[in-house]
């Protein structure tokens, strides 16, 4: 009996957490208010979450492009199709790798930082102070960071894709001596704007939403201790990574 009830509690806990996260999201969205101060704070957060993630995104993108073209070029040349490397590169980047890898890198760099910042604000009574000054912390703290992530992730996906293609170009054209006209021509003739690029950007927006939601939620609900904040940042990375990979499969299945 006791064992069964423990199992029940264990099963119910994630459902309860999901419910809380849903209520939190609903509150955050319904509390949205766009004032001059909110706009300024949102832009500041776009800089912190987006612009300051550029180093990891550009470096990551360039090397992903390099290694992807290296692997595909090696395989394709065995079948005499080395020129198709740009097609494989572009399709895998636009459809899958760009949105997924960018969001994973973003969760590690900016998501954790947002979670830790909000968690520490709770631990140091800054959220309480806002509440006591009759300033809604949801409006002032959560909303700008949430919107900033929504803007930053799709923009970073675009930058990741561009630098990854640049990496592929460096390998295929400058190192392997492929024809640059064939490189660009094959890419242009096979990649469809909506089916490949557009669907990838839809994924980028969905992943951005997920990363934003989880980062602010775990920060908001972090226990106000150093251990609590550490746990919350870990949860952000794990939850974002797993849910992005699952959502990627679901979206891919619907979009194909």
């Amino acid at each position: 009996m006791n064992h069964d009830s423990n199992q029940g509690v264990r099963f119910l806990a994630p459902v309860r957490d999901l419910g809380r996260a849903g209520v939190f999201l609903f509150t955050a969205i319904t509390h949205m208010r766009l004032t001059r101060l909110q706009l300024a704070e949102t832009l500041r957060q776009v800089y912190f979450a987006g612009a300051r993630s550029l180093v990891i995104i550009v470096t990551g993108g360039f090397f992903v492009g390099l290694v992807l073209s290296l692997q595909t070029y090696d395989t394709l040349t065995r079948f005499g199709a080395g020129d198709a490397v740009s097609t494989v590169l572009a399709l895998s980047l636009f459809r899958e790798l760009g949105p997924v890898l960018t969001t994973l890198l973003f969760a590690g760099r900016a998501g954790t930082s947002i979670t830790a910042e909000i968690g520490l604000m709770r631990a140091t009574e800054q959220l309480d102070a806002l509440d006591l000054m009759a300033i809604d912390p949801m409006e002032r703290i959560v909303q700008p960071r949430f919107i900033a992530c929504l803007i930053a992730v799709p923009a970073l996906v675009l930058i990741f894709n561009v630098t990854a293609i640049a990496g592929g170009l460096v390998f295929a054209v400058f190192m392997m001596g492929s024809d640059p006209i064939l490189f660009w021509g094959n890419m242009q003739s096979t990649v469809e704007l909506w089916r490949d690029f557009g669907h990838g950007m839809v994924k980028a927006c969905a992943f951005g939403f997920l990363a934003a939601w989880l980062a602010v939620y775990f920060g908001w609900t972090a226990r106000p201790t150093s251990e609590g904040v550490a746990l919350a940042t870990t949860q952000t990375v794990i939850a974002t990574s797993i849910s992005v990979l699952i959502l990627d499969f679901v979206l891919s299945a619907f979009m194909l």
Binding site: L37, D128, A129, L132, M133, A134, I135
Partner: protein, 274 residues
Amino acid sequence: MTDVSNNSPAISLREISLELGGRVILEDFSLDIPAGKVTAVMGPSGAGKTTVMRLITGQLKPDKGEVWIDDVRVDQLKSRELNQMRRQIGVLLQNGALFTDLTCFDNVALPLREHTDLPESLIRRLVLLKLQTVGLRGAADMYPRELSGGMNRRIATARAMAMDPSIMLYDEPFAGLDPISLGVSLRLIRDINHTLYTTSVVITHDVDQVAKLADFCCIISDRRVVATGHPDELGKSSHELVQQFLQGIPDGPVPFHYPAPELAEDLLESEHPR
């Protein structure tokens, strides 16, 4: 219980009962805080002093009883009305709770920018005047991390009084301050009380400072108010707990040992674990 106050209360907590996390914090708790005076709320650690402050600000709602500020019943206010009321209250939290990504100037300007449509030039003047009051106008462009703990609390005091509140609440304003900062804090609380005609409530356990500062004080223990009156009168109280608290006696009604089984029983148990 002694009550020397004849003033009409600015804040009134009536027959409050509150349970948090399965623990009764306050039970049948009543306290009237006189208008325009400095009132000290004292008591041993964990007695519920900060809870009283949270009840006044409406952050906590009592399970039973009423919280009044003038003729407004705080515990029944809806979110919007509560926010309206909070603009009349300035709160200094224990560690200041300044925003570390804003300069001292922006910290003080924050409530003015959020709640008023004043032009930036006027906000600048108001903020500089507030900073002048706490003696830190010269630190306006510095960040909280560049200042000492005592200075941070002074900036937080300037922020708390930015909207010229009618009530100022101070949560442990003297904790961890050096003698100079302590003197500055005492003078500030007194000056703000006199110049702004505010009702000031100081949550503290610093008996020596209360004697210099408060017009009226109350001691909380065992979930209720055990003594009220002028600091001088409390010293004459025959209440055992009041004497233990004022004289800092380590054992008494507030025991030195946290409740535990007999020591011998515990030691024997370690040899024969359950």
